[in-house]
């Protein structure tokens, strides 16, 4: 019961087969390009989230009924929605919500996942078994439904869906860290370290922890994409930020009523979500491959 996130084989200490190394080496320039493009998009996104007004003078909340449902033009790059709000401005401002909720819930998953995964990977079989069953229980609730439960109990809102998505991700991350920990724990450079006079704590602090943690940011990058996707779905269902918030999922939910006459409110926010998720996924995957190949 694992998932798309996986531990980094390269950190186990054993050398991958040379055949594979050679086969991947022709991908190098393309991988570099991917990393570059994805990073550029994410940086742009962060700037948008921090200072959206630098790119547009329209207020994302101010409607202009006279300019409702205008098709994309030089004036309104992405057109306007049924209340005459500028879709480009709203999409720009939306970056803030997607990034903050996505990163927030990813942070919850990472922190608890790393703690529990380390404990499970290191300690006794009993604790390992208990933590794994806990992961099984949490992941037995499909993410969306778990969020529905949380919202029923706690009410709709950004914090609540961040918590819900964060909890749902704990097992995903925890299992990766657990597998990574076991890989490192059983690697020769850890099991032999006592020969070089290392104490148990020394082995943990100098070899085990750093080699488990080096993998975390890489895996987390892929994971941020997943959380942004999950968050947008919950917002679409109306469980997150409420209208008129310019959140991408909310915007798409609102666009459903005008799809028959206007395509633009239903296209641009979705494209923004998709590009964001692609960027995080591609960046994470490329980094992961780099780590696994361990080209210095």
């Amino acid at each position: 019961m694992t998932d798309t996130l996986r531990p980094l084989a390269g950190f186990g200490g054993s050398e991958g087969p040379a055949v594979r190394l050679r086969a991947f080496s022709n991908l190098l320039p393309r991988a570099r390009l991917t990393i570059l493009a994805a990073t550029a998009f994410i940086v742009a996104l962060v700037i948008m989230a921090a200072a959206p007004h630098l790119f547009t003078h329209y207020d994302p909340l101010a409607g202009d009924m006279l300019a409702a449902l205008k098709a994309p033009s030089a004036d309104h790059l992405f057109g306007t929605d049924r209340l005459g709000r500028d879709v480009f401005a709203r999409t720009l401002h939306g970056a803030r919500y997607s990034l903050s909720i996505g990163l927030g819930s990813a942070a919850i998953s990472v922190v608890f996942g790393v703690l529990l995964g380390l404990l499970a990977g290191l300690r006794s079989r009993l604790l390992d078994e208990a933590i794994c069953r806990l992961f099984d229980v949490i992941s037995s609730f499909p993410g969306v439904l778990l969020a529905l439960l949380v919202v029923t109990f706690l009410g709709a809102g950004m914090e609540n869906i961040a918590i819900a998505v964060g909890i749902a991700g704990v097992p995903k991350f925890g299992r990766v860290v657990r597998a990574q920990t076991r890989l490192v724990r059983d690697a020769d450079y850890v099991t032999h370290a006592a020969i070089y006079g290392q104490s148990r704590f020394g082995i943990f602090a100098r070899h085990l922890l750093p080699n488990v943690l080096t993998a975390v940011p890489v895996v987390a990058t892929v994971y941020v994409g997943t959380t942004i996707l999950a968050v947008s779905g919950l917002s679409f269902l109306g469980l997150g930020p409420q209208p008129p918030t310019p959140e991408w999922g909310v915007m798409l939910a609102e666009s459903r009523d005008v799809l028959r006459v206007a395509w633009w409110p239903g296209v641009f926010p979705g494209a923004a979500i998709t590009l964001t998720v692609i960027s995080f996924t591609a960046l994470g995957n490329a980094l992961q491959r780099r780590f696994e190949r361990r080209v210095p």
Partner: protein, 567 residues
Amino acid sequence: MTQAPPGPLVEIEGLSIRFDGLDGPKTVVRNLDLVIRPGECVALVGESGSGKSVTARSLLNLAGDGARVDARRFLIEGEDALAFSGARWRALRGAFAGLVMQDALTSLDPLRTIGQEVSEVALRHGLVRSSGRDALVSATLASVGVPEPEVRARQYAHQLSGGLRQRALIAAAIAGRPRLIIADEPTTALDATVQVQVIGVLKELVRQGAGLLLVSHDLSVVAGIADRVLVMRDGEVADAGPTADVLARPRHPYTRELIAAVPSADSRGRLLSSGRIVPDDSGAIRITRDPLPARRAIGDGALLEATGLTKRYRRNVAGPGGREAFTALEDVSLVVRAGEVVGLVGESGSGKSTCAKILLGLLEPDAGAVMLLGQPWSNVPERRRRSLRSRLQYIPQDPLSSFDPRYRVAEVIGENLSGIEPHVRRRRILGLLERVGLDGAFADRSPRLLSGGQRQRVAIARALAADPVLIVCDEPVSALDVCIQAQVVDLIAELQSRLGTALLFISHDLGLVHHLADRVIVLKDGRVVEEGAAERVFQSPAHDYTRALIAAAPRSLVGGAAARAVA
């Protein structure tokens, strides 16, 4: 085997193979001539990267993605193979030539039964219908000496022992009754006694009329079976001719180096890599080697003393009952004295590794005790061991996996130099690197970028950093090519002579142990079956198992008396 057609099976002149990579084309084989006739064994010998495997696979047009094969003449049973279509090649594969690779565990589909794997080629080429499948599988498995073929046919590769598995792989290759068998390192990674059996199976196939192309890194394996041998180096043939001729009168310096680098009784006390081949008056050859520096005397007192070591594991097994107790080590006692080189010999599963772990204080024995320098070493808390840790060091088989992947060479060695001021430490590290024959520039490189031999030198430097009295060497050169192996063995032997460090040298290679060890301990199924001075054990082994081991070990390539080493 089918009736052998007249004429050679394969006739190749001027073969070149090149791969077009991003960084330009790379030629891996150049100007190679090869002829294989029915009933004949031709061997391709060379180190890793010499192009031998690619050459062999090109006979099936399986040289790899992006390989460009060119030749002045490339005839398969008289037909121009350079003009063959993909379908024609597929028709030849398995029917004209069968391929046997190294390590049947990964070379047989692990998810399919032996029966399915063996019959696949015959079904593909329409030699049997599904009704005749079982009979064919049983007959083929029986023909390569697999007992109870009906039972084995229903099992999977992982359920068979290494020797049976390799025979099953051969059976899967010959089930299509090929006229040529291509065997790529078919006995590598097998225990010597099993190796002999597998070579025997191949010999029998050649006797029945099949052609055999044997690819190997090991001249001594080839010596026992090949009619002709091609020694390859960097994609070119260095030496070629009848096997006896090439071994007796090697023309190319590289072949001489290969022959001289093999450790044996004759090389004792000498530097392996210094071997020079000089012709004898009789036309045969002999090897002269430089002596090692003078050794220090072996002390009387025991550095390390193990008594009655026993270790049992519980392991899962197939079939009812599920788990069974497995004894890895039973009542093993041994002593290593100051300055002594003790060889610990055994095949896979003999308990060598378990023994090493217990002696290194990484694993506690279930019974028995270890004393290091007169102090209790086993079953004591790690805290009490710590002060003695530097006295006992370790050189592993796979150095890379024992280096923290984040570390550079200096950090790897520095791990064993704690509590020293940084600049003193740096100087010590550079000194150690120099001592193991590495440039100071290596200090800031990642071990990943080093060659196998260089990595092993780093591991040796790390062990020396602690200034130990005893080093446990666990198969330290078994993953290295023979020439590199000779250099690393020389380094270990030289340091041992100079520093007087005692060695516990664990190996499956009897020649190597004979070359190095003062005393030999033979381990079988977790028990010591024989122990004694190296000369005595090798000349008059007392135990049947030791005799079997020595009989199975590859012969010295250069005949005994003719190869007496001279200073």
